[in-house]
């Protein structure tokens, strides 16, 4: 469980480098990010190496002669030793070259460039909506909940939170697009197209997150400093927003950061339900035709996005709770 770090005395807080507390903190985080990036690059490279079968044969086509296959092998650099192939891959990445799609011959970087904004859009809005909904709901239930609202909360969040995004998405299409005809079922033609995919991500995400917020809020509200604040007879809004919220967010984001990163995984599925032209839908298409370079690029970019999201959570944590800066990190 995330407990507040204790025992940080003046001496402990002084453990900062010449860069100042923020400099040292960001340096540690960026080193961590670089390590994840390198892991991802090596991982995606090895992934393609491990795929059974011969990519050259796939590229050359079904009715290719052995000579055609050899030519394709040479073009793809597959006749090079492994280390040289990795060098080519890594240096390509540094230039922003993610290779070419086997299937459509488009540069992968271009594919991602055209798809990523769509994914980023719904992922970002969903994360925002989940936080804006889950935190007040969880806090309110923890602060003012009676036994009855508590039970209803547990049941509803347990039910909706355990329902996968693709099922909620399917039900939303059925209800709001087909039956009621209020919103488009698929595509990204209008602004309203965004509503259902985001709702499919936000509904279960909010439920899972609100449960975390509720239990963390119960912990925060029982702290001595909340009694001190109550002793100042503050209006409820000030009491909860100013005194409980910062501590609550620290604990919630430490646990909930994972959920937010998990939303990226949910995005992949939801894009398939709503034919949303994002990176997730593209990677599934590529998977079905074994278009390795596209999978490689998409997985790499999604992984980096998840890592960036984690970094963002850590920075927000540090802004909220200055003690995090001095310590090793958010946990």
């Amino acid at each position: 469980m995330a407990t507040t770090p204790t025992g940080m005395t003046a001496a402990g807080a002084g453990r900062t480098t010449a860069l100042g507390p923020w400099g040292g903190f960001l340096l540690r985080r960026l080193v961590g990010l670089a390590a994840v990036a390198i892991t991802l690059v090596v991982g995606t490279f090895l992934m393609v190496q491990l795929i059974p079968g011969d990519p050259a044969r796939v590229v050359a086509g079904a009715d290719a002669t052995p000579a055609d296959v050899e030519r394709a092998r040479h073009e793809l650099g597959l006749d090079q030793p492994l280390s040289a192939q990795f060098g080519t891959y890594a240096s390509g990445l540094l230039r922003g070259d993610l290779g070419t799609s086997f299937q459509t011959k488009e540069p992968v970087a271009e594919i991602i460039g055209s798809r990523l904004p769509f994914t980023a859009e719904i992922a970002f809005l969903s994360v925002l909506a989940v936080l804006l909904l889950a935190v007040p709901i969880g806090l309110a239930v923890a602060a003012r909940g009676s036994r009855r609202t508590d039970g209803a909360f547990t049941f509803v969040t347990g039910l909706v939170g355990a329902t996968p995004e693709y099922i909620i998405g399917t039900l939303l299409v059925l209800g709001f697009a087909i039956r009621l005809g209020w919103l488009p079922a698929a595509g990204a033609e209008t602004v309203t197209s965004m509503v259902l995919p985001i709702a499919a991500l936000v509904l279960p995400g909010t439920c899972v997150m609100a449960r975390i917020v509720r239990s963390e809020a119960a912990h925060v509200l029982a702290q001595d400093y909340m009694r001190t604040a109550r002793g100042r007879r503050l209006p409820p809004l000030r009491l909860y927003a100013r005194h409980a919220l910062p501590n609550l967010l620290t604990a919630t984001l430490t646990l909930g950061g994972l959920i937010l990163a998990g939303l990226l995984g949910g995005t992949v599925v939801v894009e398939a339900v709503f034919a949303w032209p994002g990176i997730g839908q593209r990677v599934v298409e590529a998977l079905l035709v074994r278009d390795h370079t596209v999978i490689q690029g998409c997985v790499l970019v999604l992984g980096l996005l998840a890592a960036l999201l984690n970094l963002l959570v850590d920075v927000v944590l540090a802004l909220l709770d200055p003690r995090t800066l001095a310590g090793k990190g958010g946990h």
């Binding site: 807080a13 994840v36 355990a162 001190t228 992949v268």
Partner: protein, 631 residues
Amino acid sequence: MRRVRWNAPLVVALTGLGLIALLGIVAPFLWEERATTLGGSARAHPSGAHWLGTDALGRDVLARTLVATRLTLEMTLAATALAAVAGSLLGTVVWVSGRRVREFGLRLIDVMISYPALILALVIATVLGTGPTASVLAIGLGGAPAFARLTANMAASVAQRDFVTQARLMGVPPSRLLARHLLPNISGPLLVLLSVAFANVLVALSGLSFLGVGVQSPDYDWGALLNSGLEALYTNPAEAIGPAVAITVTGVLAGFVGDGLATALDPRTGGAKARARRRPAVEVSARSHRAPADALVTVDNLVVALPDGTRLVDDVSLHVMPGEILGLVGESGSGKSLTAMSVARLLPEGLSAHAAELALDDLDLTGSAIDPRRLATEIGIVFQDPSASFNPALKVGGQLTETLRVHQGVRGGEARGRAVEALEQVRIENPARVVKQYPHELSGGMRQRAMIAAAILPGPRLIVADEPTTALDVTVQAEVLDLLKDINSTRGTSMLFISHDIGVIGTVCHRVVVMYAGRVVEELSAADLRAGRARHPYTKALLAASPRLQDADTDTGTDTATATGAGTDAVVERAPLATIPGRPPAPADRPAGCAFADRCPVVLDGLCGTERPPMADSVACHAVRQEVQPA
């Protein structure tokens, strides 16, 4: 492992899952043929013959959904088992191995966890291709990091316990350590994670099939059925409903098993909430008018009760005169803090205060709608633990001036100036810097002085100090006590000073109220206390158990600073320290007679056990009364 306490959701969810498992076993035998028979009309709406209609090839959707239960459950179980075994092994191995491997391993697990499991599964599916086996491997391995982390975390907490250290020192090999000591102790949380993982794996596996990269035709699981159902959403929505309901219900049931197990295994949820029934009425004795009319604080026949009516504080009466420091002393559980918190109107949730009179001058503290502004500005509170009583996320200055800004309309700049002044008064160096710091940047003694500054800032008429020095180093204690006395003498602020330390009470206070088991047993002047002129056997026992006061007594009891703060170094042991045998009765088991009777050296047969001693001449004791005026 702790004993599982069965609860309704757990039983219901387990029963439901059992039925679904049974269905998985029998369904293929019963409906296999129906599920594969190509029917007449494709994508027909639900009818008597086909309750959920038919699919694109005219096959019965309901039968297909039921038959798919087996493959879905088999895959889910296999993938869950894979995740659990691979993850637990990884986690335990990481923990049992040397420090370097461990630290690297833990970091790696952290990175893997923060990576969306579904994308990880897609990577593995890319390598392994499609189909049931590939899906199980992909999802199973994708779920392993969660188990690895739980196992490593739990193993870490168990491994630091004494018996494991001892086993290690005795040369028990790691494999045996693992099997005999670690695994049994982490099995509870592991079980919870297993059921949660089962739900997650089901959702992820079905997701893969739904995306079309999992189970391939002619095999079908719920995910694959949902996939074809999505295409038919416009023609036969029921085709999607069947598998959607199946996935959701199974997943939710597994999730509820996890919740239920967590509740059942958690010792803290003993059902305190379930026991809370309607609040019985608490009867309060009539006004005694014992307090002088010019008292600042009047507490008359105060009762603090639990929701079930158990009285934690029982008919307590006391008063604080203007400019007076009243000490409230007693063992933990005597109700002294609850009495003080009733005056401050800060009782913990669930407790209720009832009194014939509870007032701060003209401010009635019994009602429910008390002017928050007057409460905030007229009562200052110094809490026990200064490190926990400051909000760690807010700067010291803002916390000090909050009452000024919220209730007294003082603007930011001026408020800060007054905070600096107050910090100066409590002898904090460099106050202008301290207001801009966070609480964790101050030492414990500084924090308590800042807490006192916060209490005096609004200019209160009463300061409630609840064990203000208990959490501090002995060297700092004396300084804080001096400071409180100083504030009392220079500002004339009344204080209600709570402590379990009769030595501290004797040096700081003017008058002392002694509490035992929720009742007042004696009231005496601090001078009498210091001189050892206590009359109640409990007060005498407290004095006998305190080394400092007897010492201070022989030194004529004036040298207060050394007697309190310095602790043992100033004490010359003359007589062995007395201890009070036994312990106070629990609030629910308090006897009809005197609560101290069981531990009392001068207990009278009959009377003390049956009749509650009334407060007479400032002491509530049958034995003392008989001595003074023999019957």
